[in-house]
Symmetry: C2
Subunit: 462 residues, 2 copies
């Protein structure tokens, strides 16, 4: 370390300018704190450039045309196929050609100072970025996120697989796409590229895709992918991978079968970006699988100055929950008495396939694991008048999981076309622990698909 | 009255087989009561054949194509215009060609006995339908609904105007359609027929359409109708109407201007269907404007046997609220201790235009009228990441009205494309009186348009 290096002081140093880091920095700066924000790649983060945003841009046109095909009077107006080049151009607009300059005025307006480069702790409260050394008066917030995990499969690294980054930004539609992993990233991108013309095969080691969700959700989204022409290989484990002379990839399954494709997307999980932070110099250490374990104020290991928010703490790998944690951490740094409760018992989550899954709280299995006297109530998502106009005739189940002792909903899952916007009703019911007897008086409007709530509560016995 | 007429006994007689009557009869029959259901026209009622259902069928294709036009990649696939004949055929499917036989098995399965004809009270608990005389052991439930009101405008009756019945079931698209009344029925049907090719002019006496809603909702839906080519004449009063030799109608405005059209839809309000019931023989009388006033158990004038549910009690002229009242009344007849609270302070309601209005509870003005220390918080409905994919670039405002003393939301209005499904979150928040501080922990999923909730609460100051 250079002895003459000037150490600059800030109230708070936020490391990582993804959604969580940006929200935290912004909230602190709006309350007049001096904030430094460090980013080694793009301001806006994985979500804006390589995940939610481009993925949704790729999915939306196909989703919409699937709905058009279900509506007589509208479907007759469609003559063409989805134009993949137009969709890819729109995706490029959404990610601003991977140029983050559009994000900078927002920082400037708030007086947030941006440092570009890799951050490394020098000591407690002390962070270096290249030649800059800075010190935090109040707090350092780690918000470095996660990257795609590459599993130790023979030859996989050398086969130059796609991660979410390549799969969301590719300039051409691969003729054949192999997807390793049937979680959210795998199934959304399988749906997206399939809608753009790829022949897609998903390989999932578990017996069903979306293994953490309700079994009916796995089955119904599998059926949707099947209708879209996506091949699903569940209970199939990859044993090796290679890229041949012609540039094509080959994925070998246990048992010896070989699948071939033009590209191979690896979507089997995430790893936290903590390696280069030199956390040990801050007196901290990463926990299981490298995640920074935090308490309900987002503090790392009981520290009074070190916070971790977003993916990097492993609590809930979702943009909206990272932003939520950012608000809680910022308020705590500002001296408020706050506790993160909104991610207990299962964060709200949407899988943007066709049909979609929108879920919050616990699945039936997880509620039972937790010892809750849980009862599941299931109805057809399309079993109401609203569904004769929207998402018509598309199979899908809606479930609430009721805690029979407390008479509140502890989980809800909706499968159907474009059910994402219906989720927040369930999120409020779960998080606010609204008693069923009170929910009964919240009347869903006719003829909207919200009447699924009426059917659920009637079926429960109200 | 014939002395030898046999009087049949039922536990409950329900007069009117619209949504409210059907739900009430069904709920009672499922609890083993003997139920008679009387209907003078179609089982399923105004809603199924002449209102919500055909109206939504007419609106949905146009709404969907408007959304397609906002989504690059999808819009390029559309080459044709909306095919009005296909839409009208689909509408005919939705209303089953005005044949109610599809509704009968549902009644039969529940052992509900259907009497077709006009019901008239003979005495307390005693009802005649044609030659049948029946007596109710427990209760009579009046659920006869409303019909279009025809205002006393010179020549209007003779001009053979459309009501909602003709406007939802017409077999041809009128070249020019005049709409008298800019309430929900008027604006929805203006939007629908305009999307099918009509030139539509709406005449509204008030200074704005949707006069009971937030002023921004009126303005934004006016702008949407304007973009769709609908002409709005607000602050314009009709002075006379006539139908000429060629079958065309003429509407004269105060001031002398004449508007001409092929059809004239009158949508200036409703009147309760109570005239032929001979309520006085039941010891009851209709209240203001003919509506049957009820208490929170839906009993008429403190009676222990006479109930009125749905439109006919004037409490809330909405199908879903009629069905809600039906459940409450049925439960009360079954001896349960229930109170209708879900329609206090403004029922949930949706106007299915493009953009839509989805609202619940009080507007700011109504909250202030009630003496509530009310604060309105406004954000752009499109001001979130989800709106870059859905309802993109479409102007619209979202508002919550906060009771500053109780820290709860007493009203919410959302204007935007397809916001109907977002309403139930607000309905739960309002009806369950969830404190703002608790709502703050209900995290909207990214990137959905539910994030409008985040913006609303941030703007409030959370």
């Amino acid at each position: 370390m250079l002895g003459v290096m000037e150490e600059r002081e800030f109230d708070v140093i936020v490391i990582g300018a993804g959604p969580a880091g940006e929200v935290c920095a912004g909230r602190l700066a709006e309350r007049e704190l001096e904030v430094a924000l460090v980013e080694q790649h793009l301001v806006g983060g994985e979500c804006s450039f390589y995940a939610c945003m481009p993925s949704k841009a790729l999915l939306r046109p196909g989703e919409l045309l699937a709905e058009v095909a279900r509506v007589p009077g509208a479907r007759e107006t469609v003559s063409g196929e989805l134009d993949a080049q137009v969709v890819l151009r729109r995706r490029d607009e959404v990610i601003h050609g991977r140029d983050d300059s559009g994000q900078l005025p927002w920082l400037e307006e708030r007086g947030i100072e941006l440092f570009r480069g890799q951050a490394a702790f020098e000591a407690e409260r002390s962070v270096r970025v290249g030649s800059e050394l800075m010190r935090a008066r109040r707090a350092v917030v780690v918000a470095t996120g996660t990257a795609a995990a590459i599993p130790p499969i023979d030859g996989l690294g050398e086969a130059r697989p796609w991660t979410n980054r390549e799969a969301t930004t590719a300039a051409e539609v691969p003729e054949r796409l192999l997807v390793l992993g049937g979680g959210v990233v795998g199934v959304e991108l399988a749906q997206a590229w399939s809608s753009l013309g790829s022949s897609v095969t998903v390989v999932e080691a578990e017996e069903r895709i979306l293994f953490n969700e309700e079994p009916f959700a796995s089955a119904e989204i599998s059926a949707g992918l099947d209708r879209a022409g996506v091949e699903l290989r569940t209970g199939a484990r990859a044993a090796g991978a290679s890229r041949g002379e012609g540039g094509r990839v080959s994925l070998e399954l246990e048992g010896g079968e070989r699948l071939r494709g033009d590209e191979l997307l690896v979507a089997v999980g995430r790893r936290p970006r903590t390696e280069e932070l030199f956390l040990e110099r801050a007196g901290a250490e990463a926990g299981a699988a490298g995640y920074l374990e935090v308490d309900d104020q987002l503090r790392v290991g009981g520290s009074d100055w070190l916070y971790a928010i977003g993916d990097v703490n492993g609590r809930s790998l979702l943009t909206h929950m990272g932003k939520y944690q950012a608000r809680i951490a910022a308020d705590h740094i500002l001296g408020e008495d706050v506790t993160a409760t909104g991610d207990k018992g299962g964060s709200p989550r949407v899988v943007f396939t066709d049909p979609q899954l929108a879920a919050v709280g616990l699945t039936l299995a997880k509620a039972q694991e937790q010892g809750i006297e849980a009862r599941a109530v299931d109805v057809s998502t399309a079993g109401n008048a609203g569904a004769s106009f929207h998402g018509r005739d598309m199979p899908g189940t809606s479930r609430i999981v009721v805690d029979e002792q407390r008479h509140v909903i502890v989980g809800a899952s909706f499968v159907g076309p474009e059910v994402a916007e219906s989720l927040h009703a369930a999120t409020i019911a779960v998080v606010a622990e609204v008693p069923l007897e009170r929910l009964w008086h919240a009347v869903p409007a006719f003829p909207t698909r919200n009447e699924v709530w009426l059917k659920l509560l009637e079926t429960y016995g109200l």
